[in-house]
């Protein structure tokens, strides 16, 4: 049987082709195309920077068909991960990682909310429908705090979900836990963007060709002209507020400082912008949406606009259907498969669809060559995982986790790493923080470094 999604993908090649061309326009090696700014490079002294990305797939997977055969270098992909075959040397499949804080504990139901909330934080979310939301700072934001100022954007947050579900979310948890994976602080999620065009314009300006660089410069000019005004207003306002309200205004001030910083950096070094543009209008197919966001993320890395990104394919509990691969059922309702073979079959199709999009992302990362001749992928660390293992059991151990990329030759890619016992997912994150230049003593519920993934 022909697979309908291929047809859809083919139809959208021309739209994405625009972006591919865009990649070609900036394939100059990193160091050739970007002058060093003292600030960006003082620490890294000529080295190609390491990038980190976290890709989230919802609702767990069909575990038996995901699981690889064999261990170490001698492994083969499970059926749903076959699309990753061309990248066998660039990925590590890790078995045995868990998010203990995703389990029910004393909090009862709400595994989908906890799956998303713990994913990058390793912390237990406070069960509340809105007041006093609290979980923990996320690994990407820890990295952004440490190294984010070396680039124009400390981090980039992406999601294919354009809106929140109406009404309540999962079992008494605020929707914020389910629709965000990046957390700037224990209390403040970082809302992701979903429109590829808007993200692109935010990074690289509006208009076409030369207009974009000019539009970025004009944007900076306008921002500068009102910063003094709003800073003075905020200061006045701050005086009249209760402590609880000041926290909200502080969020505003933090955002303002980030923009100020960017303006200062802009003065030293105008950003490099690609000379192509994104297709107008929203993507029509889900695969196209995923790939356009992936393209933008690659471009952001390629132009060193940011080194840190998170990308939710969908929020946990998503009930999206996948007509591209002939699955009309909702993903979430399917994930409660009750062991039924036809449901499992469909979940496998969805897993494979996701893996195809991931392979697309890896391919784009591999096409980009850096100054040392290695690829962008070789210089990156990409986690691709779900916060649940089996959607029917809602279990938060034995998570499906892939770590792609080489972190500049410091990761031992091309293996199935089967951990002897269970280890916290945050051990992997602690190791990644080390590698990206943001070492921490501990993170979330970590118990130590995960040396098994290192070269």
């Amino acid at each position: 049987m022909s697979r309908p999604h291929l047809g859809v993908a083919a139809a959208s090649v021309s739209r994405r082709g625009v972006l591919r061309g865009l990649g070609a326009a900036v394939t100059l090696p990193f160091l050739e195309s970007f002058r060093q700014s003292g600030q960006a490079w003082a620490a890294a002294a000529g080295a190609v920077p390491t990038r980190m990305a976290f890709l989230y797939i919802p609702n767990g997977v069909h575990v038996p068909r995901w699981r690889p055969e064999g261990e170490g270098r001698d492994f083969s992909f499970g059926p749903t991960l076959e699309p990753l075959a061309p990248f066998k040397d660039s990925v590590q499949l890790i078995t045995g990682l868990a998010h203990r804080n995703g389990t029910a504990g004393a909090d009862g139901a709400g595994d989908h909310a906890r799956a998303s909330a713990t994913f990058l934080t390793g912390a237990r979310p406070r069960k509340t429908a809105g007041a006093d939301i609290k979980v923990g700072i996320s690994v990407d934001q820890v990295a952004a705090n440490a190294i984010g100022r070396q680039t124009r954007f400390p981090s980039l947050e992406l999601s294919c979900d354009a809106a929140r579900k109406s009404g309540g979310c999962d079992s008494g948890y605020a929707c914020a836990y389910q629709f965000n994976i990046a957390w700037r602080s224990e209390q403040q999620p970082v809302s992701p963007e979903s429109s590829p065009r808007l993200v692109f314009e935010r990074l690289f300006g509006t208009g076409s060709g030369d207009e974009r660089a000019a539009s970025l410069a004009a944007r900076q000019h306008r921002q500068r002209s009102i910063l003094d005004f709003v800073a003075a207003e905020a200061k006045d306002m701050h005086r009249g507020l209760a402590a609880a309200d000041r926290r909200k205004l502080d969020e505003y001030l933090t955002g303002l400082r980030e923009i100020e910083h960017r303006i200062a950096q802009f003065d030293q070094e105008p950003p490099k912008v690609p000379d192509r543009q994104l297709p107008d209008g929203p993507p029509t197919a889900y695969s196209e949406h995923l790939r356009l966001l992936a393209d933008v993320l690659v471009l952001a890395f390629q132009t060193d606009s940011t080194r840190i990104g998170t990308f939710m394919f969908a929020h946990d509990g998503s009930n999206r259907s996948f007509p591209e691969v002939g699955v009309g059922d909702g993903h979430h309702s399917l994930s409660h498969h009750q062991g039924k073979e036809d449901a499992l079959e469909k979940i496998a199709k969805i897993d494979r669809f996701h893996a195809e999009q991931f392979a697309y992302f890896l391919g784009r990362m591999r096409e980009v060559k850096e100054a040392d001749g290695r690829s962008l992928l070789d210089h990156s660390m990409v986690v691709y995982a779900s916060g649940l293992s089996d959607g029917n059991r809602h279990n938060h151990d034995d998570l499906p986790v892939i770590l792609a990329g080489g972190a500049g030759g410091r990761l031992a890619a091309g293996r199935h790493v089967k951990l002897p016992g269970e280890q916290p997912m945050t051990n992997l994150y602690l190791t990644m923080l080390d590698l990206v230049g943001a070492p921490q003593q501990a993170f979330g519920d970590s118990t130590g470094l995960l040396d098994a993934v290192r070269a």
Partner: protein, 669 residues
């Protein structure tokens, strides 16, 4: 003292036995709350059992008549948590015996009134955290402030929601990304003002821009210009910040304007446009800053908000935008409070209240989702081609479904009809595409209009609306569980406890059913397991009553459907044969539950915070207002008149003098 390994729930019930021995009484309407606590919580939280570090018997011992637990006391937080868990039905856990709705209500009353000392005569309005505009409010406010009507909403990232709404201050945060967007959009609007103003003929500004130039163009006389500029900017700032502004702000805006005018090609209009950009980026525009009517002393727990704050609360509640000139003028004259009922009526008659209908109903009844949810139309409709299915369940039909529910709500609201008409009214809003989809004859044309439904038409009331039936379905089939939950959550206000972790799979039991098992047979599997039965007995019968409607809300006309058993019983005992009788039960014997539920949803939406243990009197005050005739508009009046809408935490909660390091506390001496 006995200890138990591993913190597991203990296998026997001696605590309950002891508790019951201490309080020997039959279970009944007069069972004292303390005994209810022992009965439902005792196993895990009484007599040395302190699962989760909660020992309710010890908490109870520390309280008694006349000895309420004060904020700041060590037990206070524990009691507040207990109240929250009881209210959200997260306790007792779903796999334990559940109190009835009445018992739960008595427990909640007991905790709030007797333990926590909530006193209707000494109301605590609570504190709504400094709330930023959500993206809909932002877009509307920019439109009404500047006359520039671009849909800015879609340029902003989605707002987080809490308690089911996107108006909740706590979860509306400002990320650096959002900050960037605000500056970008502010600049874009400023550019549009410049461009539009440049195209004016003579001294005549385009009508949409006149509100930005209330004093007209720049005067010829250079000496008159500074005052003219100041007047123009002050008016702009007052409207943008929705309250009077001080001299420092006006001075800053003058600086911004003059700098822009001095640039090459600068103009008076360009200067105003620069000021527009500046005010749109200001925190005073983006946040809703409120003040009290008069300075309060630290001993006051609550104070009325000033009339400007009241005008904003009203306009964002009912219009999702800034106050208009009438509200401003009344607030400035100090007459708004005195004329509130009339103003609310005026605001509801104004078409801007469509925003309230759309945003409140859109989230309460989830009509926002009806147009985008994915469906496998081939399977649901039993057609060969997807295109064919999508012609039947078309975008046009979906849009009409959303409008049907919104328009019915608007109609009941504006015509002074009882809220229960939403459930049992015999008319609805249809156009030809939706009428054809429903199988209702004689509706022609694309305009939605009020249609009286004949007795033989199986429609009428929210439970038969396509919107409700669609948003509670899965992409391939109906979900009686979701439909039942929707009714419990949003109409009866008695949400079922979340399913316990580690629900046993139904696969083995399901395997015993014939392949073509009916939905009812499938649902009955829930009853085989006592663990599942206690909650599913509450939701499944409600959902099964709606089984005559398929996943996209069409009436099942086929032969098999004719024998569908849609009868059932509410957990409170009322029996019904079908959806019409179920609607009548909710609108009749359970009317008070429905009213309470609606009042709580409205109050949450209007206040921008979840309800707390001290909000009971406010909800009761709304219910008193609607007791007579149950009119939907009376709910709105009741919310507006309520203490938390009219007041805010007193001096100690919001005093500028509160050091930043010290957490704000409710001002109890």
């Amino acid at each position: 003292m006995a200890t138990f390994p591993g913190g597991f729930r203990r296998p026997f019930h001696w605590a309950v036995v002891v508790a019951l021995a201490l309080f020997p009484a039959a279970h009944g309407a007069d069972e004292p709350p303390r005994k209810l606590l022992a009965r439902f919580c005792g196993e895990c939280h009484f007599d040395a059992a302190d699962e989760g570090d909660v020992a309710i018997d010890k908490l109870l011992a520390a309280t008694g008549p006349g000895r309420s637990v004060k904020p700041g006391a060590p037990e206070h937080a524990a009691w507040v948590n207990l109240w929250k868990n009881l209210r959200a039905e997260t306790m007792p856990p779903a796999d334990e015996p559940q109190p009835s709705a009445g018992e739960r209500r008595r427990l909640l009353e007991f905790v709030s009134r007797e333990v926590l000392g909530v006193d209707p005569n000494r109301p605590d309005p609570g504190h709504v955290v400094l709330r930023r505009l959500n993206r809909i409010e932002y877009s509307n406010t920019v439109r009404d402030l500047t006359g520039i009507d671009e849909n800015l909403r879609d340029d902003l990232p989605a707002d987080d929601t809490g308690y089911g709404f996107d108006t909740i201050g706590e979860v509306l945060s400002v990320s650096p990304l959002l900050m960037e967007k605000y500056l970008e959009l502010a600049a874009r609007v400023g550019d549009r003002v410049t461009a539009d103003a440049a195209g004016r003929k003579g001294n005549d500004y385009p009508s949409n821009l006149r509100r930005l130039f209330p004093s007209g163009p720049q005067p010829e006389d250079p000496d008159a210009r500074p005052e003219h500029l100041r007047r123009t900017l002050r008016r702009l700032a007052e409207r943008a910040f929705r309250r009077p502004v001080d001299e420092a702000t006006v001075k800053r805006l003058v600086d911004v304007s003059e700098a822009a005018m001095a640039e090459p090609g600068g103009s008076f209009e360009g200067g105003i446009a620069a000021a527009v950009t500046a005010v749109l980026a200001s925190p005073r525009f983006l946040f809703r800053v409120e003040a009290e009517a008069a300075a309060t002393t630290p001993s006051e727990t609550a104070a009325p908000i000033d009339e400007f704050a009241l005008a904003s609360r009203l306009s964002y509640f009912l219009w999702s935008t800034m106050p208009d000139d009438d509200l401003f003028k009344l607030a400035a004259a100090g007459k708004l409070r005195a004329e509130l009922p009339g103003q609310v009526e005026r605001m509801l008659r104004d078409r801007r209240s469509d925003a309230f209908v759309r945003n409140f109903v859109g989230q309460w009844l989830q009509t926002r989702d009806v147009e985008a949810l994915p469906f496998d139309v081939r399977r649901v409709l039993g057609v060969k081609e997807r295109e064919q299915g999508e012609r039947i369940f078309s975008d046009e039909v979906r849009r009409a479904m959303r409008q049907e529910t919104e328009m019915l709500f608007g109609h009941v609201l504006r015509e002074g009809l009882p809220a229960t008409d939403l459930l049992v009214g015999r008319s609805t809003f249809l156009n030809e595409p939706l009428a054809r989809f429903y199988g209702v004859p004689d509706v022609k044309g694309k305009d939605m209009r009020l249609v009286s439904l004949g007795e033989d038409v199986p429609r009428g009331g929210l439970l038969t609306h396509g919107s409700m039936l669609v948003v509670t379905s899965n992409p391939t089939r109906t979900s009686p569980v979701k439909r039942g939950l929707f009714i419990l959550d949003n109409l009866l206000g008695t949400p079922a406890p979340p399913a316990p972790a580690g629900v046993p799979a139904l696969d083995e039991a399901a395997a015993t059913l014939p392949k073509e098992a009916t939905m009812r047979q499938l649902m009955e599997l829930h009853r085989r397991d006592a663990l599942c039965a206690s909650c599913h007995a509450r939701m499944d019968p409600l959902g099964l009553a709606l089984e005559r409607y398929n996943a996209v809300g069409q009436w099942r006309a086929d032969e098999a459907a004719g024998t569908l058993d849609t009868s059932g019983r509410l957990i409170t005992g009322e029996r019904f044969a079908d959806v019409r009788e179920l609607s009548a039960v909710i609108a009749g014997p359970r009317r008070r539950d429905f009213h309470r539920c609606l009042a709580e949803k409205l109050l949450t939406y209007a206040l921008g915070r979840g309800l707390e243990y001290f909000d009971g009197p406010a909800v009761d005050s709304i219910l008193e207002k609607v007791e007579q005739d149950g009119r939907l508009d009376a709910f709105v009046h009741g919310v507006v008149a309520s203490v938390p809408f009219q007041m805010r935490g007193g001096a100690a909660a919001a005093s500028p003098a509160t050091p930043a390091s010290q957490p704000a506390t409710k001002g109890k001496p």
